[in-house]
Structures are given as C-alpha cells and as structure tokens.
Symmetry: C2
Subunit: 391 residues, 2 copies
C-alpha cells in the first residue's frame, strides 16, 4: 500500500491533455479553450449610436437643422450627412458619415422637418457614438487559449458571430458496476439485496463536470464477466470506472481481470479510509480506476483521484483545496489518511455523522471532504485542516 | 422611475411558489424538494457484513468451528448459524441469524472445512455487522422538504430505491428577441447589423439555473409583431423575457404592446445603470420582463431582477450577496444605482474595463457584479460594497 500523496503523484504523472475538438459555442460551458479566439470582426463594425436622437456636426450645434433622413437600427444604408442638416438615428443603429456627435432626442426641439439643439452643454465630438472596434478590434484576441468557458462568456461569443470553437475534448467515461447483490431503483428488493446507487452517484458527479459521454454497464461477480465488461468498456472510452470487486477476496476479480487484459497496474491499495483497496491502471492512452463498492468510498475516491485526472485531461486547473479550522476535536487511527464528510461554514468545519463507507445519508448535510493527514492521530479543536468543497 | 430597492420589492411581492411535480430523481439537481422524502426501507434492510470473513457466535470464539455454509453477496438465502459452527460471509452480503460477530478472514486460520479464530482481541458482539437501519430506518425522513437537490444527494436517493421525487416545478421561459439590426451567429453581417447574442446569453444563464424548458422567438420592431410575439409566448410559458424595444422611442413597442395585451404594468424604468428602461408586468400568474437591448444591460437585469424571481418561483433561497472592499476608488453619477462588472479575489474587488452597456468583453475576466448605492457618488479605495458573484 502507498500513501495518499504517492497515489496522487502517480495519477498526476499518468495524465495528459486530450486533443482539441470543435464544439458549438453555446454548449461549451465547462470546457477549456484549445486556441485563442480571435475576433473575426470589429465590434461595433460601424459607427453606432448609443441613443435615440439626431446625428449632427458639432460645428452646426447652434443652427436650425433640416432633418435630412433617418437611419433606423438594422438599416444597411450608408448615408453622408450634409452640412447644416441632421439625420435621425436610433440606439444600436448606424451614425452617418460626416456626423461627429449624436444629440439625444430629449435635448432637441423638433418643428416640422427641422430640429434645434436645446441643450447648452454636452455636445462634444464623439458623444453617444460607439466607434468601430470600441468593444473589440478585428483580429484581436477575444478570449485567450486556456480559458475555462463560463456561462457569462456565451453571450460574448455570440456577439463575435462564432458558431463552433476549439476546446480540449472531455474524456468519455464507462462506468462498470459489479456486485451480485445490486438491484435497480424502482424494482422490488429481496433479503440480501441492496439498491444500486454508484452508477447514479458517479453519473451526477461527471455531469457536474460537464462530461456527457457516459455509458453504464453491469456485470456479475465472475472473473470472465468482469474481464469481458472491462475489455468492452476500453474499446470505446477514455476512462473506465469500475465499482466493487477490488479487494482481495473470493468474489473480487477486478485487479486480476485488469492484469489479464494487460493493463499496467499503477497502484492497488492506498493507506486511507475510506477507499483502501483503490486500483489504478493505464493502457494505451486509457485509464482504469477500480473503485471500492461502498458508495461513500466511491464518492471519496472520485473526488480525490478521478476528478483531478479528469481536470488534467480536459485542461482545467486543479480544484483549489481550502483550509478550515476543526469545530470539534477528532481522533483517528494512525497510519491512514482520512477523508471525512464535513460541513464548513465561516471557516469552521464540523465532522458529519454517519462516516462509515456504506453510509450516504451524511451527504444530505455535508458540503465538503475533510482531509486528515496519515501521520497525525489526534486533532485538537481549532486545528487547521485541508477541506475539499463539493463542486 | 423607481429605485433599485423599490423594484426589487415589487418583484418579490409578485412572486409565489410554483406547484410541485414529479421528476426522475437523477434529473433533479438544482430543484427544491416539495415534500419530505421518507425512507421506504431500512438501510441496510438485513444484517450486513462489512468484511469478507466468518460469521460466528462470540461465545464460540475459542473453538475449532466447522464451516457450515457460505453466504455470498447477493444471495437471498436466510440461514440459521448452528452453535459451534461458522458461516463464510462477504462484504455487503448477509450475516446469518444466530451470529453476533463477523471475524475478518485475515484473523482466522482455515484447515479443510474448519476454521479457528487466530486474533486474540477485537472479537466483540456486533463487530463488522451493519445492523438493519444503521444507515437509515424505514419511514424516517431521509431528505427534508425544502432541500435544494445537490449532485452529492443523487447516490443517496438511488440507495433508497426511489425513481421519481416531488419537487417544486421550474418555470418555463420564453425569450422574445426584438431588433431589426440582429443577425444570427454564423451568418454574414452587413453594414448596420449586429450579431444577436442576447438569446444565447440568457439561455446559458437559465441553463445554469437548471431551467430546461426555454423557447426563443424573434420579432421585427413593429407594434403588431411585438404584440403577437408576446401573446404567443404567454400562451405556453410562465415567464417571458423580451429583449430590446423597451425605451420610449419610435421603434420601442414593448411597453405599449404589453399594455394592449392587458398585462399589469408593475414598473417601467429604474434609477440604475445599466438597465434604466427595465419593464416588469404580470398577468394571470405569469410574469413579463421587458429587458433592454444592450447585452450587458440584459445580463445585469437578469441577475438583479429575473434571477431572484426564478429562485422564488422554484423555492430556492435567495442568492447571498457578499461584501468586498473596492481595490480602487470609483466615482459615479449620483441618483443612479450602478451595477459594474468586477473581479473579486481575496475580499478585494476591482472594477473591470469596458463597462458600457453594449460591451460584453469584460465578462471574459469578471466574476461578479459590483452594486453601488444610488445615493452615494464617491467611493474611496477600500470602501466595503455589495458584490453579486456570478453563479
């Protein structure tokens, strides 16, 4: 068995960036830009009015001006403003050539076909005109490579006229569920059976990371079926997450099946609770985790080892751990790293009830994992510890 | 025109909780539970081993024990352990009646069909046995009404065997885009035209709030078409978000169209920048926002007025504003509330470049809105202000 730190190091050393793909810009939230987005146009692409009003020459501001024409938003007419005249313009619409100011309609008096500026100040060159490129110039970097696309970026990409953008591909994931005792939610349950929850828990975590290409399969606890399920999963997916069957017992076939398939065993067993039997292997640019069967162990191992790999594969920065002070003292078994479900508020973190590896009820209230170092065994109230906030 | 505070108050007064609906539990992240989830079973539902090992009577621990049988995980056989014997058990599988301890396999020596406990301590009643209901008892509240479903809740709901759960319905939303100057991303653009970005920006925001029932329609800047588009949107949606056409100008028809349809005008115009002309109306349990056309104004108004309504309709707690210290001094026009794009890190917030209402480029770096009070006009460096972090 290896330490938590050594296991993290091995996972990190085995990660690499997946290749770039084109994605519709409005489905790219959570992906990382593989190249700079270069603005294909200036915004605005023409001199644009920011007000409803009249485009005039500043030099003419004291004159009674004939209304030469009007340019509603959406017109493609390119007019030249004649000296001593005004052209009616609208918010978002073009300002005619020759005009150097837009006077807002509240600042003029209109009589028939003539207009006079009534305001005494604020009529300055450029007022209420958005110059071409004042948002962004053509061929300028609009969003730099490496940016993780956020919800608030989508509108800006639309305004650039983009359709598809180059992003680092997200890994596709196969979930392979082992365990003869498992029954699907919604079916009746008999003595000795348990509802299968790991596929649902893992899928929810993957979807939270914007991973959509997920396949779930089920296998019985035999070596042949386990081997066949993993082989099948590897044919089409980057990452395989197996749950259960990873200890060393009569019905634990995952590690042996992986050996037989020819997967390179990177580690099997970590000095930690929960998730001691965690398996990790690699083969021809694919990654395999043998997660424990207990649902809380699955989620803990997902957070501590699978999520960092997913981030690295898709170019995301590692999640930042946070420091918080223990609200109560805690004593743990020495020589094992602990990952506890906790609730953190205002910098103080409490250890949740129901910490056993089969217990999921703590997740109703918990909002983070508390990481307790392998070497230490007593943690006084107020000790600063590392926490990993849920998503 | 009314103040920001008054507008917020009116939106809040017009909100109500939408009715409950049943949703598949694994598509419920972001929804709020309309009723307590009551556990339909005890977990575990049978005495369950937490180890691979042998189920025995503690009283027999010094004896050489015949191996009576084995109970792999997933078996439905209900055995009775005979005195002086042991039954082989497995992690997650049942413990036979009559046994009061599971001895892990590393703590025994097996010879042929007989087993002897080799460990000298730790053989205590209940060890390595998960008693029925030790995770949760039957008919107990598993997740309380009002809980906002998180990713980490999904596995627990599966383990309860649930399929559908009662949640507060999310509103359906119609987005109506006005503006003759708008062109869809991907199409060529002519002089005077602008790429349409508001529908994409709004959809991304709604999807971030787990709202999936969204329709987008486009209308030309005429009163008849605007009236018809809003009427159509109201027939099937709870909430209508119109962009553009909301000022008072020759091509601004939204407020008049809403009046003609018979929508109750709640307000039109707020003392704020951006988003001064914001319109809000209600009709027969439906809500209508007339948002400005400028994309940054749209996103600001969405955050400050639409999002709180969406939260209230779907039973979510209001988003918590945060306080932060201004990294640089800022001077603003008095008598208007300001919402600036900002970047907050370690409690200090900077005002982003490109604050004009047509500018979206600031969203590449910004991570919050900075709210500046109507009444104040100079903000010294270090002034504590309210910020609204993006999602």
């Amino acid at each position: 068995m290896i330490s938590v730190a050594a296991a993290r190091q091995i996972v990190s050393a085995q990660s690499r960036l997946l290749p770039a793909v084109l994605l519709p810009f409005d489905r790219s939230v959570g992906s990382v830009l593989a190249e700079d987005i270069i603005s294909p146009l200036s915004i605005p692409s023409f001199p644009q009015s920011s007000m409803d009003g009249y485009a005039i020459r500043v030099a003419d501001k004291a004159l009674l001006l004939e209304i030469q024409d009007e340019l509603p938003a959406g017109t493609s007419r390119e007019l030249l403003l004649q000296p001593g005249k005004a052209i009616k313009v609208f918010t978002g619409g073009p300002v005619p050539e020759g005009a150097d100011v837009v006077v807002q309609k509240e600042w003029v008096t209109v009589t028939g076909n003539q207009v006079r500026v009534s305001a005494e100040k604020g009529i300055e060159p450029g007022s209420h005109i958005r110059m071409p490129g004042s948002e962004i110039g053509k061929s300028v970097v609009a969003i730099p490579k490496g940016t993780e696309i956020q919800t608030m970026h989508i509108g800006f990409m639309a305004s650039l006229g983009l359709t598809e953008i180059p992003v680092i591909r997200k890994p596709s994931v196969a979930i392979v569920i082992t365990g003869n005792e498992l029954v699907q939610p919604g079916s009746p349950i008999s003595f000795g059976q348990v509802y299968e929850s790991n596929s649902f828990g893992l899928k929810a975590c993957l979807q939270q990371l914007h991973i959509a290409d997920i396949t779930v399969s089920y296998t019985k606890d035999t070596l042949a079926e386990t081997e066949s399920a993993i082989t099948q999963a590897l044919t089409i997916h980057d990452l395989v997450l197996i749950t259960g069957g990873v200890s060393v017992g009569d019905y634990d076939h995952v590690a042996q099946a992986c050996d037989r398939i020819g997967i390179n065993r990177q580690f099997h067993g970590i000095k930690q609770r929960p998730g001691k039997p965690l398996y990790f292997g690699t083969t021809e640019g694919r990654w395999v985790f043998g997660l424990p069967g207990n649902p809380a162990s699955v989620l803990s191992c997902f957070y501590q080892y699978v999520r960092p790999l997913l981030h690295a594969l898709s170019g995301r920065a590692p999640a930042k751990p946070v420091r918080a002070a223990l609200a109560e003292p805690f004593e743990k078994k020495p020589a094992l790293g602990f990952f506890l479900k906790g609730y953190c508020e205002n910098g103080a973190v409490s250890v949740s009830q129901a910490q056993a590896s089969f217990q999921l009820s703590a997740f109703v209230q918990a909002n983070c994992w508390i990481e307790l170092e392998e070497t230490q065994h007593y943690f006084a109230k107020g000790t600063e510890v590392t926490i990993h906030p849920f998503f």
